[in-house]
Symmetry: C2
Subunit: 365 residues, 2 copies
């Protein structure tokens, strides 16, 4: 099999612990299946700042750009709360997204049957839930200029951020959503605030046109983002694919994640456009959870979101659909077996640590 280059960025907090389980999995796949993964590793976030004063070094950025896929852990922690804005841990992640042009962020919110009871929502509301949030990731208020704090004198400052969306950005992200909907329940809901935001007016217009021109076989609904947030809480199963902008996507995907009972379970994929020649997409895979500094180093972090992110990597970057299915099946199997890390523990189950959970999944794989 061809060599597959993975660049690993474990980051801060529980990132390295979760990544360690994926490393074991990669070794096992190479040994047992000859999968041909070659890995290299770099620094991102607070640890990168500590090492060389930037949230990611240029050298590591180059490696990320050259890899077939990047696996990302998590960044941040109280240790770096006071570092300058430009080199704060999150800046590393934002640079990766922007420089690699990872405009399509796929965030599945799936409720594992074994965990349905641990959601704060009623079991019938979330059982069997399977929605996919397609979030625009390289535009909007995250990157628009001006973005600054101005000193107005007299003790007054002004903080400014700019939400900007161009037609082509909305077109390409909605294209991704419609394509993915065709492989699912064929239903897209687009969310914006067109009643307040001009970018929302344009968003609505371009999604509608893209639908009409190329995807009229897919069912399309529009919802105001605030109403969409409410509907997610009220009856999430009404949705299949949700497409929305960077900031609304940040909020809505976290809420969707929480519905499922544990954010420690959920993976994400961030994809670029297919290369004109090779058809390959740049890609980064990361768990939805953050760095959880309060539990870092204790060996109790849940590695499932990181492992499930690697399953998405197998599926989207290497077309290893069978292996991805098998890995997702292994996760479901250990949950059915009653294994639980602390964050998803409930009475009657067996509490295990990060390493045991990783080992159990690899054993079932």
């Amino acid at each position: 099999m061809a060599t597959k280059h993975l660049f690993l960025l474990p980051g801060d907090g529980i990132g390295p612990e979760a990544m360690a389980e994926v490393k074991k999995l990669i070794s096992a796949m190479n040994a047992k299946l000859g999968s041909g993964f070659v890995t290299d590793e770099g620094l991102v976030g607070g640890c990168a700042f500590d090492a060389h004063g930037a949230a990611i070094s240029d050298a590591d950025m180059e490696k990320a750009m050259a890899a077939d896929a990047v696996l990302f852990g998590a960044v941040g922690g109280p240790k770096w709360d006071a570092v300058p804005y430009e080199v704060r841990p999150e800046a590393g992640l934002l640079r990766l997204r922007k420089d690699m042009e990872l405009f399509a962020n796929l965030r599945p919110a799936i409720c594992y049957p074994a965990l349905a009871a641990s959601s704060s929502l009623k079991q019938e509301v979330v059982e069997g839930l399977d929605i996919l949030i397609v979030r625009e990731l390289t535009g909007g208020v995250y990157f628009g200029e001006p973005k600054q704090i101005i000193d107005l004198g007299n003790g007054q400052k002004r903080g400014i951020d700019t939400q900007v969306y161009d037609t082509f950005e909305i077109e390409r992200i909605s294209g991704v959503a419609f394509e993915l909907a065709r492989t699912r329940k064929n239903h897209v809901t687009s969310m914006e605030k067109r009643n307040v935001m001009k970018s929302g007016v344009l968003w609505n217009e371009v999604v509608t046109q893209t639908h009409k021109a190329r995807y009229s076989d897919v069912k399309l609904d529009h919802m105001l983002a605030d109403a969409g947030g409410m509907q997610l809480v009220r009856w999430p199963k009404q949705f299949d694919v949700i497409v929305t902008d960077n900031l609304f996507g940040d909020m809505l995907s976290d809420i969707a994640a929480m519905l499922t009972g544990s954010i420690g379970m959920l993976p994400s994929a961030s994809l670029g456009a297919p290369d004109a020649k090779t058809k390959k997409r740049k890609a980064l895979y990361e768990p939805v959870h953050g760095s959880a500094p309060d539990i870092a180093g204790k060996g109790i972090a849940n590695p499932i979101a990181m492992i499930a992110s690697f399953a998405m990597c197998l599926r989207y970057s290497f077309g290893m659909v069978d292996e991805a299915d098998k890995l997702e099946g292994a996760i479901a199997a250990v949950l059915d077996q009653g294994l639980r890390t602390k964050d998803i523990f409930s009475p009657g189950m067996t509490e295990v640590g990060t390493v045991e959970m990783g080992d159990a999944i690899i054993a079932k794989f």
Copy 2:
């Protein structure tokens, strides 16, 4: 008693039906208690556009500015989906907020014991819930300039919105939150995205300073807005008062509202600064629900949010605390009695229409 001038703007959809119940209540209070309410009525939203081509006329704006308080129903509906952006129904509400300088939007999310079971969340998660979202209402991305769509040629357009916050705006809204927290559980959580937005950095800084300078007796926490959304869904009772910006407040208050089991129940108050001389605040009271065009005119809309908004009006604009308590008690009493409009109906309860619900509350008052 002194004359109390109320300006009523029922608006579109179910707005007029809900407002009709408040009008009955006002008449009853004048007749029975000599409360001295004088009402005038105007048009806002789609009906105002139909009548004179604007979402609110200058004449009605003047009346709103002069009144002791404005009662607002709801605006919008599919009939006006295609009207120009500048005169869309929502523009009437946004102009009222901006011209009256109603910077402080108070949105209580209270779970009525009788309705705890009808939430999509588990009963133990929402039972007894009582949080107050304090949303900044005259700044941020709602009003910042530039706000426009530019034609770039080649079939490309650019949609731009601008998030702007000045120190004084953050200071005054956090002051309101701290003051209100002192009358409650003395705990404020401030939410922003300081890891991505410069306005979030400033927000965080000013809230921290305001706390230190004037409200250090109140417990203050900071949370990223996306994490805040998750925590609202996971365990909402951890919050007392949440203070946040216009756009995050829009999303978070709707989500908080949905937790309680019915958005048809929840009121809001939008307040200006106290007048230097008279100490009176300009104020507008509105239900959190929208115009619900699908059920308008059928006599089935839930008038409780509108009536509860009037209770907030009694409390905040006229200092009629006993009457406000009594009215809120009357709402709880009819719910305990088993009366339900369609939106909150559950088996074993008695389904009633808008008018019957209004009558029942007035009878208990």
